[in-house]
């Protein structure tokens, strides 16, 4: 089972354990990978391209990643707090909490998805 995402360009190769990815955010034509521990890596790929890489390279782990709107991909294993009214999403690793913002509609869908996935309701 492939557990690492490999992002390769003509000059560089980045190999990241999927479980260590907290979220990926769109940054114009580039994207930022935030990994557990707080390290941020900018890569020269758009978010849609990274989504495609995850889809193809991580067939057994891709379902842990959720695309939220046009600007975010998050790892659901790091979800800590969803506040729909405040449009706030907190992700957490061992040491840090990361604050993100998304539309109410997307956060409501995310909340419902988590509840359904873990059979909370």
């Amino acid at each position: 089972m492939n557990t690492h995402l490999i992002i390769s360009t003509s000059n560089e190769l980045l190999r990241v354990a999927a479980a260590h990815i907290i979220y990926i955010s769109s940054d114009g034509n580039y994207s930022n990978l935030l990994m557990s521990g707080g390290e941020i890596r900018m890569v020269t790929f758009q978010l849609g391209q990274l989504e495609e890489m995850i889809n193809k390279q991580l067939p057994d782990m891709r379902s842990m990643f959720i695309r939220i709107g046009r600007s975010l991909i998050i790892n659901i294993n790091h979800i800590y707090h969803i506040n729909v009214a405040r449009q706030q999403l907190l992700l957490k690793d061992r040491d840090n909490t990361y604050t993100l913002s998304a539309s109410k509609e997307a956060l409501k869908s995310l909340k419902e998805f988590i509840e359904k996935k873990y059979e909370i309701k």
Partner: protein, 287 residues
């Protein structure tokens, strides 16, 4: 450009590897149908009223990120430049492709009429400034040209005042810059406000078209132009995300624009002919 299988709206989520978003598709289609019906009705009403070139529609909320956009701080790299030229920067913000024009070390002014746009010797950068009313073809909102008031009114709360070489952009019902411009031979015009003190200003215009904005970005005046049709909300949000403090709209869609490249080549945008509005106005930076 946006029509591939990875397209997604800011109101949606999608588990990677699954073809559809987790939102309820049935409700999604019903809402989409309802929105289409409402959109068509709103379009007919807006067209028949012929009050504005813009029509009602829907807009979406943008995802805002906790991390700063990489353009933040970029503009300070231009601080050491002493030459006269227009720096352009192509970028993408929230999937909106756009170009930033930064006029450096040149003199700003307003002009009325088309004559000024043919002066390609001295002009470095120009864009249409104030709107022209559809009914009487007069300038919309207060306008001062070289100290002479040409138009009065407060239909739009965004303003730009030019006193000497200083361009001030803001949002207010009343601005002392109007009076000041009349006293010192300055310039003043009004437009839709987009960003005020770093906060997005909502506008009623909901249709999509090429957008242009006059922005105060980390102490510098910057013109931002989108390459794709965008809603005013999404455009304003993108300006906020790159760190704009204050911004007002410039005439969008097919309005005239022009800049001189570093190589001395003039690059025009918009529809230059026919030249039918004698009260068309421009903000011009020249050497």
């Amino acid at each position: 450009m946006k029509s591939n299988k990875y397209d997604i709206q800011d109101t949606e989520i999608r588990v990677i590897g699954e073809s559809s978003s987790s939102s309820k598709r049935k409700w999604g289609w019903m809402i989409l149908a309802a929105v289409l019906v409402i959109g068509v009705i709103a379009g007919i009403i807006a067209f028949s009223c012929a009050i504005s070139q813009e029509e009602e529609g829907i807009f979406e909320r943008s995802v805002r990120q906790a991390i700063p956009h990489p353009l933040r701080g970029w503009i300070h790299s231009l601080d050491s430049i002493t030459d006269i030229y227009v720096v352009t920067k192509d970028t993408t913000v929230n999937d909106i492709p756009m170009r930033l024009y930064v006029p450096l070390n040149m003199t700003p002014r307003l002009e009325v009429g088309y004559k000024c746009i043919d002066d390609t010797t001295h002009n470095m950068l120009l864009f249409q400034a104030a709107d022209v009313r559809a009914d009487n073809k007069k300038i919309v909102g207060a306008f001062v040209l070289r100290g002479k008031p040409l138009s009065w009114g407060l239909s739009k709360k965004g303003y730009c005042g030019i006193i000497g070489d200083q361009v001030t952009i803001g949002v207010a019902d009343n601005s002392p810059l109007f009076e000041q411009a009349t006293e010192v031979g300055g310039y003043f015009f009004r437009q839709y406000p987009l960003v005020s003190n770093g906060v997005l200003v909502e506008n009623e215009l909901k249709s999509q078209s090429t957008r242009r904005g006059l922005c105060e970005l980390e102490g510098k005046v910057v013109v931002v132009e989108t390459f794709t049709p965008e809603s005013l909300h999404d455009f304003s949000q993108a300006l906020v995300d790159i760190g704009t403090t204050n911004a007002i709209y410039l005439v969008g869609s097919s309005a005239i624009g022009w800049h001189r490249t570093l190589d001395g080549v003039g690059v025009a945008s918009g529809q230059w002919e026919p030249r039918v509005f004698k009260n068309v106005s421009f903000i011009v930076w020249s050497r």
